[in-house]
């Protein structure tokens, strides 16, 4: 059956668990191109380079009935005490899903959180904005 997807169909998961109060997410893939144009040519030519993935998401800063905050396991990769910084184990398993009934269209990846920001302003709901960059290949890409 034909379907137009909307924001209501979007799901973001962390470690296989759906995150609550996701306002938006965006996923981007980009291919580095290597120019191979030589001196005798007038039109540019390219060879494929390295493929990469990145994106960002915005979540409402939300505490559930059990007292758990939905953004904890994202923000604590960057916002933490100590002098150790970020280690290679500070990755997150993210899944971006577009749902059509029982049909899930997924992009799944392992990523580093590269930026995290929060704030508070009068008359506005507190949000946490994160950006990520994927490391390694996608573990699922069932969007086609």
């Amino acid at each position: 059956m034909a379907k137009i997807y909307s924001g209501r169909d979007g799901v973001m998961q962390l470690g296989g668990v759906t995150l609550a109060k996701v306002v938006n997410f965006a996923f981007q893939s980009s291919l580095e191109t290597l120019e191979t144009t030589t001196l005798g040519e007038s039109v540019r030519s390219y060879s494929p380079g390295v493929l990469g993935y990145s994106g960002n998401a915005s979540l409402l800063y939300y505490k559930d009935d059990a007292g758990s905050i939905n953004t904890t396991n994202l923000l604590n990769k960057l916002i933490k005490t100590g002098t150790d910084g970020v280690s290679s184990s500070d990755t997150v398993e993210l899944t971006f899903r577009w749902v059509d009934g029982t049909d899930n269209n997924d992009i799944k990846l392992t990523a580093y959180i590269t930026s995290a920001s929060m704030g508070a302003s009068t008359g506005d709901i507190v949000r946490a904005d994160i950006s990520f960059v994927a490391t390694g290949a996608l573990s699922a890409a069932t969007i086609s």
Binding site: L34, T36, T37, T38, L39, E41, S47, G49
Partner: protein, 130 residues
């Protein structure tokens, strides 16, 4: 083994000079003595960006065959179809060393930078000598 016949992605050329000795008097006057009739020490730098590793290896093989910086060879000479002067629309003898009776040798080893698996960038620097 001839110099690899690949089109460079960039090229710089320094036309060298004739063997001239200069003397300057204390009053600033300069005397120049010409010691030869052939221009020499031309510099040709060729870059081959994002080529396959097998093509990059051709330069390493040629460098080895030339015994490094020891042997001389022709590049970009008149009627030589090595594509080193690709894109040049001036006289065909302008970029070669042969017009002065000189030939090129390697100024140093080819520089190979790995870009990604199977793809490298190579830069060779040549100097014209008699």
């Amino acid at each position: 083994m001839a110099f690899p016949t690949l089109e460079p992605t960039s090229r710089t050329f320094d036309s060298g000079d004739y063997p001239v000795k200069k003397y300057q008097a204390q009053n600033g006057a300069e005397v120049r003595i010409l010691y030869g009739s052939n221009r020499t020490n031309m510099k040709l730098s060729l870059s081959y960006a994002n080529i396959s590793d097998s093509n990059a290896e051709l330069f390493l093989d040629h460098y080895d065959e030339m015994k490094g910086t020891y042997d001389t060879f022709d590049v970009a000479s008149v009627n030589q179809n090595d594509r080193a002067k690709a894109g040049w629309e001036g006289n065909t003898d302008a970029l070669g060393a042969g017009i002065s009776g000189a030939r090129y040798r390697y100024e140093g080893p080819p520089q190979v930078s790995q870009v990604r698996p199977g793809i490298s960038t190579v830069t060779v620097n040549l100097v014209g000598v008699l």
